[in-house]
């Protein structure tokens, strides 16, 4: 028991510091992905509910691709494919330049693609929950389209979409584990290194799983708070 505690403790004999830095990378990656994923998802939802068929089709192609591909494959496509495409583009301008894609950025881009395509569905079904009268009310007050969207629709949209978005956040947190495959030192990778060095794989991967559970619990508490905040204008039932 003492040995186990030493192994996971902080300091020179334990792997606590390494694992903590991995946790930090995992959380940073998830949080860095969130704004891009949410914005892109919202824009996609706007496109999908548009009356213009070509716009709807363009958005649907995007979601079909990124919801159909395995997340791991998306990651590889962005990581290796991005490298090739950027290399081609750069070599037009600077023939000698070498491009190397940062694995954090590749992870962020790939996870944003996946997150946004699922988030667009969440926003879209939230849009369906808002009656047409809300828009008409806004126009009747003399608000412009963008103003109506921002001041009247968006606050209700957030409330309606939050449960689904909360789930997507938990999925995103778990999907960050995939970046360990392209060499980013996240929680899973650090746990794997510790497991190999100390020959205690069950212990370290078990610890990693427990940390993911703790992160999920903290997230759930946070999401409940945000939901309470977003529905503060609701009638208490």
């Amino acid at each position: 028991m003492d040995e186990i505690l030493t192994l996971v403790s902080f300091g020179p004999n334990g792997w606590g510091d390494e694992i903590a830095s991995g946790v930090l990378v995992t959380i940073t990656l998830a949080i860095a992905t969130l704004p891009f994923g949410l914005t892109l998802g919202f824009l996609l939802a706007l496109a999908k509910k548009s009356e213009e068929p070509s716009l709807r089709a363009a958005a649907n192609i995007y979601t079909t691709i990124f919801r159909g591909l395995p997340e791991l494959l998306t990651l590889f496509l962005v990581y290796y494919g991005g490298q090739i495409v950027l290399q081609q583009l750069i070599s037009f301008l600077f023939p000698d330049a070498q491009v190397e894609v940062n694995s954090f950025v590749a992870g962020m881009v790939a996870l944003s693609f996946v997150f946004s395509s699922y988030a667009s569905e969440a926003f879209l079904s939230a849009f369906r929950g808002i009656s047409l009268g809300q828009y008409e009310g806004g126009y009747a007050l003399g608000l412009r389209r963008v103003q109506t969207l921002r001041l009247i629709i968006l606050p209700q949209l957030i409330r309606l979409a939050l449960p689904a978005l909360g789930n997507l956040w938990l999925i995103l947190l778990k999907d960050t584990a995939l970046v360990s495959v392209i060499g980013l030192s996240d929680l899973v990778r650090q746990a794997g290194i510790a497991a190999r060095v100390e020959k205690e794989p069950f212990l370290f991967f078990g610890v990693a799983c427990l940390i993911y559970l703790v992160l999920a619990m903290i997230s759930s508490i946070g999401i409940t708070r945000i939901e309470a905040w977003s529905s503060r204008g609701e009638v208490r039932r």
Partner: protein, 277 residues
Amino acid sequence: MTEQVETARPQLTAPAPPPRRWSNERILGHVLMVLWALAGAGLLSYMIRDFNPEFMDRYGMKFVSGFIVTIELVGLSLAIGAILSLPIAAMRLSSSRILGGIAYGFVYFFRGTPLIAQAFLVYYGAGSFRDFFSDIGIWWFFRDPWYCAVFAFSLNTSAYQAEILRGSIQNVARGQWEAASALGLSKPVTFWKIILPQALIVALRPYGNEVVLMIKGSAIASIITIYDLMGETRRAFSRSYDFQAYIWAAILYLVMVEALRRVWDRIEARLTRHLKR
């Protein structure tokens, strides 16, 4: 032309639809579609220009075998998971605090941690108990990555399927139970003949999503040295450095998922046709 028709039969014709203007939305939509078309054409030209017959000769059949391995892995895991999910869902629904708590813990663990960490925990983690597993004679099971992947995936999907089952059973209105008991039906008969059929119809869509999630998640098996579609792709890429390997894999996965989604929609439409109004 239209004016002539209108003067001839002024009451009968509907007013001509207003000509579609080139609104910002329409321009944006067309620009985006052109971009998609360019991207598609670029990809196609890349696939044709850099097509390597030798690559196809060497790895073409491997892709097919990887595809089959993926389907076997997913099918087997889903089937075992479905069987395992029944007792778990029953425990979740039972009034016993202890049973419910155990099942909740199981489900929470497998839904709250990444599949890749679970696969590592089983495949590498089993090594920590090597002596013990050898003693009781099941080391052959945990030594083999294939069994480990099936083991991890089955447990994972059983947790998700148990939640789908529990949710859909609880979703059936209480009145159905009451009506059945008013008719004098016993509890088991009520459950099998009245509650479960209604629950499964509700569960159809989430089950379809779970199958898709499993197909996509199975790509992780490639990391614990299984040569499924993803594993073959990675092997082909690491040997040939031909990026087309990933494109072929993407096409195969997309076709697999899209075909399944379409078929599932058909099945759902067929099974719920009595609910259509």
